[in-house]
C-alpha cells in the first residue's frame, strides 16, 4: 500500500505523521477520526506494504502478528487496539510507546558501562520471560525490536515471526526452512525449529555480545552454509576483544550463545537472575577463556552438527515452568531449630523433581544492623556473617544439579523486601515459615507470612515446624519448656487465632 498522507482516514482512524518506513510496513501515529478520546494511551497503526502482487511471506507474517498480539497481555508488549480485515484493509492499531530501541545503545559513540549492559540485558530477559509464560516465543529479537521505556523496562515489538503454542503456526511448513533474521537467529531456528524459548535467549546473547564488543558473534551470513556455522562454532570470547569485560559477564553471554539449546539458560528468568546478581554467577572455563575454542572441539561439533535436524519443541510455558526459581526466606533471629529443619525439608521436596531449578536463599536484616562509621558493623562484614549462616543452613541441600545463591536484604519491612525480591526476579515459588518473623508484634498486625501470602506474585509454601522422630528425645523436650519455645508456641496460637481475621 502506498504511503498515507497526514489527515487521511482509514477505517475510523485518522492518520497523523508516518513514524517508521520499513521494508515490510509503514507505521503511523493515529487517533480516532470521530473525535473519541484515545483509549488511555497513544496509538500507532502498522500498515503492511503488500499489495496483491507482493510476496506471500510478507502477508503471512502480518497475519501472524495480528493474531499473536491480540493474545498477549502485560507491560512488555504494546496493547492491541484494532485490526483491519486482511483481505480488504490490512492494518494493525496498537499502543504507541515512547522510548529508545536497543539500536540507540548499540549505535552510540561510547560503549555502555558493564552495569548498563547488565541492566539492558536483564530487562530484555524479563520481557522475553513474560512472553514465554504466555506460551509465545518471539523468534525475531533484535535491537530494532526491543524498546526501552523511561523506567528501564523493555517492550518487545514486531511479532511477525513469532510462534504461539496454542495457535496453528502459519510460518511452519513441511520443508523446514530457517525463519528469522540471519544475524540473531538461533541454531535450532536454522534447521526449522520454531517454538523453543531458548531461541530468544540466544538472540539476547547476540545483542549482549554486540553491546560488549561492538562486533557481531557470527556476522550477518547471507548463505545457508554461513547460517549453519552457529550450529557448531563458538564466537570469539568477548574478553579477547574487550579485556575490560568481566569474566562473569562473558560467562553469561557465552552461555546464551551455546550452539545446543540445552546448554543455554533454561529460562529467560534464570538469565535475568544472573544479570542482576553478578557475584552469584558460577564462572566456568567459558567465562575465563580469552583465547577461543580449540579447532579439535569445533571439528567434533561440526561433525555432530552435520546431522542436526528438525525436532518439535515442547510448549514454552511448560518448558519454562520446569526450571523454576525457588526462593526460601530463612529467618536469622527468633527462630527454632525445628523451623529451620522443616524449612530445609520443604525446600528439598520442592527442588526434588526439578533438576534445572535454581534456589535463592534470602534473609532480611534490619537496616539498623549496619553502620557506615563502625567497622564491626560495616555492610560487608555484617552481610558476610549472615551469608555464612545462610550457606551453613543450605549445606545439606547441596546438589550438583541445582544452582544455589545467597542474598542478604536490608529493610525495615520484611514482607515488602521479600515480595519485591520475588517480583524482581520472577520467582516461581516462595518457601517460608508459617510463623517465624515479628514474634512480638504479630498479635496486633498481620504477620509477615500472611502479608507475603496475600500479595505473593507466585505460589507460596508456608512451612509448619516439625521435628523428625529421632530428634524428639530428651534435650528437645527439655528445650520445649524453655523460653524459646514458649515464644514460638504463642506464635502458632496467634497465627491461627487473631491473625486469621484479615483473611476472612
Amino acid at each position: 500500500m502506498k504511503l498515507l498522507e497526514p489527515g487521511a482516514l482509514l477505517d475510523g482512524f485518522a492518520i497523523d505523521e508516518c513514524i517508521h518506513s520499513g521494508g515490510m510496513a509503514h507505521i503511523y501515529r493515529v487517533h480516532y477520526a470521530n473525535g473519541q478520546p484515545n483509549p488511555g494511551f497513544d496509538m500507532a497503526m502498522k500498515v503492511p506494504r503488500m499489495t496483491a502482487g507482493d510476496g506471500a511471506e510478507n502477508i503471512v507474517s502480518f497475519e501472524v502478528e495480528c493474531q499473536i498480539i491480540q493474545a498477549l497481555h502485560g507491560s512488555h508488549v504494546p496493547r492491541f487496539v484494532a485490526a483491519g480485515d486482511l483481505q480488504n484493509v490490512p492494518y494493525l492499531v496498537m499502543e504507541y510507546i515512547q522510548g529508545e530501541t536497543l539500536d540507540h545503545w548499540i549505535e552510540a559513540e561510547t560503549r555502555p558501562g558493564i552495569d548498563e549492559m547488565a541492566r539492558l540485558g536483564a530487562a530484555m530477559a524479563r520481557a522475553a520471560h513474560a512472553l514465554h509464560l504466555q506460551n509465545t516465543v518471539h523468534l525475531d529479537l533484535k535491537p530494532a525490536n526491543v524498546l526501552f521505556r523511561a523506567d528501564g523496562s523493555a517492550v518487545l515489538l514486531d511479532f511477525g515471526l513469532s510462534c504461539h503454542a496454542h495457535y496453528p503456526d502459519l510460518l511452519a511448513e513441511q520443508l523446514r526452512k530457517a525463519v528469522g533474521s540471519p544475524t540473531w537467529i538461533a541454531p535450532e531456528q536454522v534447521v526449522g525449529v520454531r517454538g523453543d524459548p531458548r531461541s530468544d535467549i540466544f538472540a539476547i546473547g547476540v545483542m549482549l555480545y554486540e553491546l560488549c564488543t561492538g562486533e557481531l558473534p557470527f556476522g550477518s551470513p547471507q548463505t545457508e552454509g554461513g547460517l549453519r556455522q552457529r550450529l557448531w562454532m563458538d564466537p570469539v570470547p568477548p574478553r579477547k576483544i574487550q579485556p575490560d569485560i568481566p569474566a562473569w559477564l562473558q560467562e553469561v553471554v557465552l552461555r546464551c550463545l551455546e550452539p545446543e539449546a540445552a546448554q543455554r539458560y533454561a529460562s529467560a528468568a534464570l538469565l535475568a537472575f544472573d544479570l542482576t546478581h553478578p557475584t552469584q554467577v558460577l564462572i566456568t572455563e567459558r567465562g575465563l577463556n580469552t583465547r577461543g575454542t580449540k579447532f579439535r572441539t569445533h571439528f567434533k561439533r561440526w561433525l555432530k552438527a552435520a546431522g542436526m535436524h528438525y525436532q518439535p519443541s515442547p510448549v514454552p510455558s511448560q518448558q519454562v515452568e520446569e526450571v523454576p526459581i525457588i526462593m526460601v526466606a530463612v529467618p536469622h533471629k527468633d527462630v527454632t531449630d525445628a523451623t529451620l529443619y522443616s524449612l530445609r525439608q520443604a525446600v528439598a521436596r520442592s527442588l526434588g523433581t526439578r533438576p534445572g531449578a535454581r534456589l535463592a536463599c534470602v534473609t532480611v536484616i534490619s537496616s539498623s544492623l549496619t553502620s557506615t562509621s563502625d567497622d564491626e558493623k560495616s555492610e560487608t562484614s555484617v552481610h558476610r556473617r549472615y551469608l555464612t549462616d545462610l550457606r551453613q543452613w543450605a549445606q545439606p541441600l547441596d546438589h550438583p544439579g541445582h544452582q544455589t545463591s545467597y542474598h542478604v536484604l536490608e529493610s525495615g519491612d520484611v514482607a515488602q523486601a521479600l515480595l519485591s525480591y520475588a517480583r524482581g526476579n520472577d520467582v516461581s515459588m516462595i518457601v517460608m515459615g508459617a510463623a517465624t518473623h515479628g514474634l512480638k508484634t504479630q498479635r496486633f498486625v498481620a504477620t509477615v507470612p500472611i502479608k507475603v501470602a496475600m500479595d505473593a506474585p507466585c505460589t507460596i509454601i508456608l512451612v509448619k515446624q516439625a521435628l523428625p522422630f529421632e530428634q524428639l528425645g530428651e534435650p528437645v523436650d527439655a528445650k520445649r519448656n524453655g523460653p524459646d519455645y514458649s515464644d514460638s508456641d504463642s506464635d502458632e496460637a496467634s497465627l491461627f487465632g487473631d491473625d486469621l481475621g484479615p483473611l476472612g
Binding site: 503454542a165 496454542h166 511448513e173
Partner: protein, 250 residues
C-alpha cells in the same frame, strides 16, 4: 453465527447432554451432528429422539458408518462395533430408523462442509488421521462445494489441519478452550473429536464451536457423568468392555 459441531455421540446420553449444556452456555446458535449418533452406547433411542427434536430448531445432521450399520446390521458379527449394531437396531423405533435412513452423507452451510468421515467419497468412510487423508478430503470438498471449512468426526481425535506458508497441509493439536483464529481466506479441515467415545485416556466429551463472524474455532473438552453412562451400558447387558472404556477414556 456460532455453530456447535458434535460428532460420534455413540448413544451416550450423558455426554450429549453435557455438551449441549456447555455449548448453550457458550451461546451456540445452531447445532450440527456429524454422524455416528448410535453404536456402542446404551441410549440410542433417547439420543436419536433428542437430535430429531433439535432438527426442528435448525440442527443439521449427517449419517455416520455406525448409523448405517444400525440400519442394516451385519448378519455375521466380525468386529466389536458389529456386536452392538444388532442390539441398537432392535431398540430403535421404526420412525427413528426411517429418519436415520434419509440422513445425507454431507451437508453444506454457507462456506462450511460437514461430513462424517472424508469428503473424498464419503460413502467409503475413510479415516482422516493424517495430512494426506486430510488433504484428499479438503481438496474434494473445495472442488465440489466451494467451501473454506470442512468438519468431520470418525477418528475420535481433535486435530485442525491448515495450510501454512508451504503447500502441504499441517496438523495442529488444539488446546481445549482456546479460540483459534481460522480466517476465511485460508482453507481449514477440523476433526472435531467424539462426544460419546473419547479415546485419548481422558473421559471428557469433545466437541467444537465455530464462530463464523469472528472466524474463530474453539475445541472443547467437557466433563460428563461417565460412570452413569458406563452403568447404563452394563444394565443394558451390552459387553462390559464398552462400559470400561468409557471410564478410562480409551
Amino acid at each position: 453465527m456460532r455453530l456447535a459441531l458434535l460428532s460420534d455421540i455413540h448413544a451416550n446420553l450423558q455426554a450429549l447432554d453435557a455438551c449441549m449444556l456447555h455449548a448453550r452456555a457458550q451461546r451456540a446458535q445452531r447445532f450440527a451432528f456429524l454422524g455416528d449418533l448410535v453404536g456402542y452406547g446404551a441410549d440410542p433411542v433417547a439420543v436419536v429422539q433428542r437430535i430429531m427434536l433439535l432438527t426442528e430448531e435448525g440442527a443439521m445432521v449427517v449419517k455416520g458408518n455406525h448409523d448405517a450399520m444400525a440400519l442394516h446390521p451385519p448378519a455375521e458379527v466380525k468386529t466389536v462395533g458389529d456386536s452392538t449394531a444388532k442390539w441398537t437396531h432392535e431398540q430403535l423405533q421404526s420412525s427413528q430408523l426411517e429418519w436415520l435412513e434419509q440422513l445425507p452423507l454431507t451437508l453444506q452451510c454457507e462456506n462450511v462442509l460437514m461430513v462424517h468421515a472424508s469428503a473424498d467419497q464419503p460413502e467409503r468412510w475413510r479415516y482422516v488421521y493424517d495430512q494426506r487423508a486430510a488433504a484428499a478430503s479438503l481438496d474434494a470438498a473445495v472442488a465440489d462445494f466451494d467451501v473454506r471449512y470442512v468438519f468431520g468426526g470418525h477418528v475420535h481425535m481433535q486435530t485442525l489441519y491448515y495450510r501454512g506458508s508451504g503447500d502441504g497441509l499441517m496438523p495442529f493439536t488444539p488446546q481445549p478452550g482456546v479460540a483459534v483464529p481460522v480466517p476465511r481466506h485460508r482453507q481449514w479441515l477440523g476433526t472435531i473429536g467424539s462426544v460419546g467415545q473419547p479415546r485419548d485416556g481422558k473421559p471428557l466429551a469433545m466437541y467444537a464451536l465455530l464462530d463464523t463472524e469472528r472466524s474463530q474455532l474453539t475445541f472443547h473438552r467437557v466433563a460428563y457423568d461417565h460412570h452413569a453412562a458406563a452403568s447404563a451400558i452394563r444394565r443394558a447387558g451390552l459387553p462390559a468392555h464398552f462400559a470400561d472404556r468409557l471410564e478410562s477414556g480409551r
